[in-house]
C-alpha cells in the first residue's frame, strides 16, 4: 500500500517537473535544457526574499514565481532568439546556460541544511493506513490541476491550437499572422512559471541544493522522451512509469538505484524508439 501511494505521489512530482519543459516544447518547439536551473533558481530567489528581504512566505513565493517567469521571458530574447530553429545550438546553449547558472549558485554556497523552504502547513492525514503530509497533498492537487489545464490548453483553446500549428510549421503560421517571437518568449515564460510553481510546492519537502537542478532536468527529459514529446497522455504515462519504477527500485533493490531508473530509461528509449512510447512523430527517428 505504501508503495502504491508513494509511487503515485512520486509520479505526480515527476509530472510536475516535466510539465513546464513539455509545455515550452509543445508550444514553440524549444527544448529548454536550462529547465532544471530555472526550477532551482526559483527556490533560491524565494529563500532570499524570505530570509534576507524579510517578506512573508506567501509574497516571497508569488514574487519568486513572477521573477522566474520574467527571467524566462528575457532569456528568450537574449539567448534563444539568435539561435532559434537550429536544434543543436538550442540544446547546447540552453544546457550550457543551465550548467552556468547551477555552478554559479553552487559557488555562492547554495547547498546545505540551512537552505530549505518552510512547509505550507504542518501536519498530515492518514490514508488507508499510510501517513501523507499536507504538503504532499498540495503537490498532488497542483499536479492534477496542471495536467488538466495543460491538456485543455493545448488541445482545446484557440491559442493552444495556434501554438501547436506554429510548432509544426512556422512558415505557414507566420503567414497566417501569428507572431513568432512573442509566442516563443511567452512559451518560455510559461514553461518557467510552471517550473517555478512546481518548485515552490515541491522544494519544502526537502533541502535545496544546486544538484537538484540537474536531477530535475533528467527527470523532465526522461518523462518527455518516454511518453513522447507530442502527447499529454504520453507525459502522464511517462511520469507514472518512471515514478513507480523508481519507488519499486528503491524498495526492492536499494534507494541509490532511484536515479538510475530515469537515466537508463532515456538511453533505452532513445536507442530503440526515440519518438517515445506514445509519440506520434515517427519522422523524428530516422533521417532517411
Amino acid at each position: 500500500m505504501y508503495t502504491l501511494i508513494y509511487g503515485f505521489i512520486n509520479s505526480i512530482i515527476l509530472a510536475l517537473y516535466a510539465v513546464g519543459f513539455s509545455l515550452t516544447y509543445g508550444i514553440s518547439g524549444i527544448a529548454n535544457f536550462a529547465h532544471g536551473a530555472f526550477y532551482i533558481l526559483t527556490g533560491f530567489v524565494a529563500w532570499n526574499l524570505l530570509n534576507h528581504a524579510g517578506l512573508p512566505y506567501c509574497v516571497s513565493a508569488i514574487l519568486a514565481i513572477i521573477i522566474t517567469a520574467a527571467f524566462g521571458f528575457i532569456y528568450y530574447w537574449i539567448l534563444i532568439l539568435r539561435i532559434r530553429g537550429i536544434a543543436l545550438a538550442e540544446l547546447i546553449v540552453t544546457f550550457a546556460s543551465g550548467v552556468a547558472i547551477l555552478e554559479f549558485l553552487m559557488w555562492k554556497g547554495f547547498y546545505g541544511i540551512r537552505y530549505s523552504l518552510p512547509l505550507f502547513l504542518k501536519g498530515g492525514v492518514e490514508f488507508f493506513g499510510v501517513g501523507i503530509d499536507y504538503q504532499r497533498l498540495f503537490v498532488i492537487l497542483t499536479g492534477i490541476l496542471f495536467v488538466i489545464a495543460l491538456y485543455l490548453f493545448v488541445h482545446h483553446t484557440k491559442i493552444g491550437l495556434a501554438f501547436r500549428a506554429m510548432a509544426q510549421n512556422e512558415r505557414t503560421a507566420l503567414s497566417v499572422g501569428i507572431e513568432y517571437d512573442w509566442i516563443g518568449s511567452l512559451s518560455l515564460a510559461l514553461g518557467s512559471a510552471l517550473a517555478a510553481i512546481s518548485a515552490i510546492v515541491i522544494l519544502p519537502l526537502g533541502m535545496m541544493e544546486s544538484t537538484i537542478g540537474i536531477e530535475v532536468l533528467i527527470y523532465a527529459l526522461a518523462v518527455s522522451i518516454i511518453g513522447g514529446l507530442e502527447s499529454t497522455f504520453g507525459m502522464i504515462a511517462g511520469s507514472f512509469i518512471i515514478g513507480f519504477g523508481q519507488v519499486l527500485a528503491a524498495r526492492y533493490i536499494g534507494p541509490k538505484w532511484m536515479i538510475i531508473v530515469p537515466l537508463s530509461a532515456i538511453i533505452l528509449v532513445l536507442a530503440i524508439r526515440p519518438s517515445g512510447i506514445f509519440g506520434k512523430t515517427k519522422e523524428l527517428e530516422e533521417r532517411v
Binding site: V93, I259, I266
Partner: protein
C-alpha cells in the same frame, strides 16, 4: 554647406604567396618556404622544448593542456562529420576504466593497458553508440550527454571498479618525462594526422556527410558505417587520453566521467574555430592554462567555460584560429570608397 563624409572600407589582399589559389602555393624563394613552415614548425618546437624548462607543477598543466587538446581534437573530428557529441567524458572515462581495471586486477603494465584501452575502448564506444547513428543529430547529442551521467551513477551505486572512492596506486610510467612527452607527441601527431586525413578523399566523404547526407547516400556510400568509423577514431582518441591521465595520476575514479571533460573541449573548439583542428589545439592551449590560473574560483570556472561556449555559438565568430590565419595570409588596408 554639406561636409563631405569620407567613407572607408577595409580592403584585403592576399600576400604574394597565396596569389594563385586556395590550395596551390607558388613557392618562389627561401623566404616563402620559411613563411609557410614557420607557423607549423614554431609551435612544435616550443612544445617539444618547453618541458625541459618547466617545474613539475607547470609540467602537469602542460600535460592537462595536451589531454584536453586531444579531447578537443576528437570533438572536432566528430563535428566535421556531423556528429556533435556532448559527452567526450564518455570516451575519456571508458579509456580510464579499461586501462585502470586491466592494470589493477590483472597487473598488466601501462605499455599494454594504454593501447588496449585505446583500441578496445574505442571499439566499445562505437558499438555502444552504433544504434543512435541512424537518428538525427539532436538524439546523438542527448545520448552522449546522458551516458556519462548514467555510468557515474551506476559505478557509484554498485561500487564496482572501485565505486565512489576509485582505485589508487596504479602503475606509473617508467620515467617522469615519458608521460609528458607521450602527451605532447601524441597531441601534435594527431593534430597533423587529422588535418591530413580531412584533406584526403576519406575526409572529404566525412565532411560531405555533414553537408548533405542524402546526397552522399545516393552516391552509394553507407553513411552509417562511415559514422561508426568516425566514432571509433574519435572515441579511441578520447580513450587514449583517459588511459594516459589514469596512469599519470595512478588513480582511477568516477571523476573521469565528469561534465568538465565534456564541456571544456567544446568550449576550446568554439573558441579556436571548428573545422581546422588547429583551432581546437589553439583553443585548448589557451583555455587550460587560463583555467589553471583561475583555480581559486573553483566551480565558477565551469560557468565561465559555459559562457565562452554560449558566446561563441551565438555571436558565431569564425574562431580565433581563422582570425589569426586571415591576418597572417592577407594584408589589410583601408581605402576610401
Amino acid at each position: 554647406m554639406k561636409r563631405e563624409i569620407k567613407k572607408t572600407r577595409k580592403k584585403r589582399l592576399d600576400r604574394g604567396i597565396k596569389a594563385r589559389s586556395d590550395t596551390i602555393y607558388v613557392i618562389a624563394s627561401l623566404r616563402d618556404i620559411f613563411y609557410l613552415i614557420m607557423p607549423r614548425f614554431l609551435p612544435v618546437l616550443i612544445l617539444i622544448l618547453i618541458p625541459l624548462f618547466l617545474g613539475s607543477y607547470h609540467k602537469k598543466v602542460l600535460i592537462h593542456a595536451c589531454i584536453y587538446g586531444l579531447l578537443a581534437l576528437s570533438w572536432d573530428f566528430l563535428a566535421s562529420c556531423g556528429l556533435f557529441s556532448l559527452g567526450q567524458a564518455l570516451f575519456f572515462g571508458f579509456g580510464a576504466y579499461v586501462s585502470g581495471t586491466l592494470n589493477h586486477y590483472f597487473h598488466i603494465p601501462p605499455s599494454f593497458t594504454i593501447p588496449i584501452a585505446t583500441l578496445g575502448g574505442g571499439a566499445l564506444c562505437a558499438l555502444l553508440l552504433a544504434p543512435v547513428v541512424r537518428l538525427r543529430g539532436v538524439y546523438f547529442a542527448m545520448i552522449t550527454l546522458i551516458l556519462p551521467i548514467l555510468l557515474i551513477k551506476m559505478i557509484d551505486t554498485t561500487g564496482i571498479f572501485g565505486g565512489t572512492h576509485g582505485i589508487s596506486s596504479l602503475s606509473a610510467f617508467p620515467h617522469e618525462y615519458i608521460d609528458t612527452y607521450l602527451a605532447i607527441v601524441s597531441f601534435l601527431f594527431i593534430l597533423f594526422l587529422f588535418r591530413r586525413v580531412l584533406n584526403s578523399d576519406y575526409g572529404l566523404v566525412l565532411m560531405a556527410i555533414k553537408d548533405d547526407d542524402r546526397a552522399v547516400m545516393s552516391g552509394g556510400i553507407n553513411i552509417y558505417w562511415r559514422k561508426i568509423q568516425a566514432i571509433f577514431i574519435a572515441g579511441s582518441l578520447g580513450c587514449f587520453a583517459g588511459a594516459l591521465i589514469t596512469h599519470h595520476y595512478q588513480f582511477l575514479g568516477i571523476s573521469t566521467f565528469a561534465l568538465d571533460y565534456s564541456i571544456l573541449p567544446i568550449a576550446a573548439v568554439a573558441l579556436g574555430g571548428q573545422g581546422t583542428f588547429a583551432g581546437a589545439a589553439l583553443g585548448s592551449m589557451i583555455l587550460v592554462p587560463l583555467s589553471e590560473s583561475l583555480r581559486a574560483l573553483g566551480g565558477l570556472r565551469i560557468a565561465i567555460y559555459c559562457l565562452i561556449l554560449i558566446l561563441s555559438i551565438i555571436s558565431l565568430p569564425e574562431g580565433i584560429f581563422h582570425f589569426l590565419s586571415r591576418k597572417y595570409h592577407q594584408f589589410e588596408t583601408i581605402e576610401e570608397v
